[in-house]
């Protein structure tokens, strides 16, 4: 099975890219082997959920907004390589997770540490253009939602790989 999972807070403009994309993907039919989930809650609880589904997913695509100082609107896709996260950083992630922080990176670091991520895990992330409070994404963010949905659709249909182990920018701001 393929897991499609969005992560992020709601009502935070482009920072809500993850849950917004989940909402958008729910608008269309998906094959039975696709599981679409909004995993925008405590990373430890998500780890427990993934433990419950151990072995069920061969592949996962996690998506959300992450600020990395790139050009706003950049949509990046890369395979998750969690070995780069040092144990002390994982511990910091756990401390944040159990005290209420919801974060795509924290979730991936913790889930990787506890060995619950599917063997093929990809990350699709948006460099947010608007960081303020807002019930909707920026016009640029909304366009990226459509582009991300199209990319995910293609991936699911072709079951093709997204990358070669390197971070890849599939769409730049236009």
């Amino acid at each position: 099975m393929i897991l499609l999972a969005g992560v992020g807070y709601s009502d935070l403009s482009d920072l809500s890219f993850g849950p917004r994309l989940v909402e958008r993907l729910r608008d269309e039919p998906w094959p039975a082997e696709v599981r679409l989930e909004n995993l925008s809650y405590g990373p430890i609880a998500v780890v427990h959920w993934l433990e419950d589904h151990a072995g069920r997913f061969e592949r996962a695509i996690f998506f959300g907004a992450v600020e990395r100082g790139r050009e706003p609107g950049t949509l990046a896709i890369y395979p998750w390589i969690g070995d780069r996260v040092a144990p002390q950083d994982v511990q910091a992630c756990v401390s944040e997770a159990v005290t209420g922080i919801i974060s795509l990176e924290n979730l991936l670091a913790i889930a990787h540490h506890f060995g619950v991520l599917p063997s093929e895990t990809y990350v699709l992330e948006l460099e947010p253009a608007e960081l303020g409070w807002g019930a909707v994404l920026s016009p640029l963010g909304e366009r990226r939602v459509e582009e991300a949905a199209a990319w995910i659709r293609r991936q699911v249909r072709s079951a093709a790989h997204a990358g070669n182990g390197h971070r890849e920018e599939v769409r730049r701001k236009t």
């Binding site: 405590g42 430890i44 609880a45 427990h48 144990p87 756990v94 401390s95 159990v98 005290t99 209420g100």
Partner: protein
Amino acid sequence: MCFKNLPVEFDEQGRPYLREDVPDPYGMERRPDLEGGEVRTLSRDQIESLLERNGHIRQKNFDPVTRVAGALAFHTVVDLEERKVLESRSVATLFRGYEVIMMGRDPRDALYITSRACGVCGGVHSTCSALATEMAIGAKPPPMGIVLRNLLLAIEYLYDNPLHLFLLAGPDYSESIVRRTNPEVWSRAERTEAPHSGIHGYGTIGEIMRDMNPLTGGLYLETMHMTRVAREAYVLIGGKYPHPQTVVPGGVSATVSISTMNEIYLRIQRFFDFAKRVVAIYDDLCDFFYDVDARYKRVGSMPANLMDPGQWDDPEAYDATYENCNEWGERRWATPGIIVNGEQVTTKLQNINLGIEEFVDHSFYDAWDGRRFATDPAGAPLSPYHPWNKETKPRPQAPNWREKYTWDTAPRWDRMAMDAECTARIWNTAVARKLPENPYIEATGHSLKMLLPEGQMPEMELEWHVPEVWNAFERNRGRAYCVAYTALVALNNWLKGMEFLKEGREATSTRFKIPRWGVRRGVGFWGAGRGWLTHHLVLEDGVCTNYQIITPSSINASPRDPWGTPGAYEQSVLNTPILESSSSEDFQGIDILRTIRSFDPCMPCTTHIHTDQGIITREVNTCACGAEE
């Protein structure tokens, strides 16, 4: 006598009144009598001079303090020769805007908005908000609603307290930390037999410490799993965690059946054995450190001034009125109370409420007039600095140790700095001896006896004793006993809920309307897993015109007050000897960190909200590192 500093006395019927012979009764001129608990602090000029002249006197800033919830920075000046702390300043670096956001809103919004003050204990804010609202509008929940609320919040603490003991503060006592900061303590731990090995299964203290290692330790991992058990029980009533959807004024909107109750019990009972082991582990750890070096008793020490509003209501006593709060308060499963220098001075919620004041002399806020309410709803005198009179007037600025340096205010009770963490709950309950009759928990006046039922392990009686010293270790030990105590409160309420179901008393909420006229006040007296929690509300023509939240960390992390008395973190760090044996170059400040974390800090975060008109609040984040000297 209840109050020593506020000019409030009691008539023959026990009703509080304001002394007439005191001019300007709430003025700042009289220095409070701290009953020997005065804290000697150095002036900024003295500190700066010492820093200039001595290489061994250094600033040590913790920014942020890690393994705590939210944004806390801590500034210290330490003397690495004399091994003592010369200055300490607690800095809340984020503005908490809930009071501002609530202005002009329907009080029902408060359930959901204020819940977001915390990502761990949203349920207690929802509940406190519901209590404040139901008091203001006169909505008394049905007994089953009260029992379910009790059960929900007991379960929340079964998530919260273990989390602190093994994931947040716990690593401070793990092999990985102790070996680095105090190798001599680690060596001794490796060869010291654990007195309670028969209960927790660890042969030596070193084995306990090894299993407390973050990420890999068995206790760390087991506790992560137990958070799941607690969450599963919680959502059976709350619908979701951490922000429940079913807590409402007048009860809870969820209904339960026998099978729901059984599902809940299956999870609560797993904490009986867990609690036996947690208590045995922390008893062994605390006693071990005292044996290694008696000076550990001074780590995090301060006068035993503790405050707690009590919680978990008696379903037959609670009527949601302020007028009867003394009566229903004293029938709670956790007795409200104030302890000053180790002695309980009141268990009456009205007195507890009258003694609360908030000061902003060293906080990033402007002062307020505070003359709106001269009395509480029962006619007793109220300070202009009381939350019902307070206005939140944020004034962002650069931190300055001489003036304002934090977003936290300085809440005081009877003008004394207090400790509001969760051991205050069992301490007040133990000495008050007012617990409802039950088969599992007994308050003896000097201890709390707890009978934990058989699980995989046999039935076991635990006894928490009022400690001889009040310090970081006793805070953690008390929190460990709180796990057992809370599990038994949950069990008692579960049994009561089953009784109500059998009797057909299944109603869980009361219909209510928000009156659209008049001025009404309410206060939610409750608690969080970490300790104290109150929400004070003023409703005017159906909307909130004042909303004030005091959390345990508001009290514990508070800055100096108008008379220069430091808050609980600041005091207890000043009293902490530096016992860390690592070199000056590798100085970690572990004794200071153990002290701060022993309070289980939770700094409520900033928040923002969006309306059709645009953004009405903004993010304010103040860095403590650049404070002006």
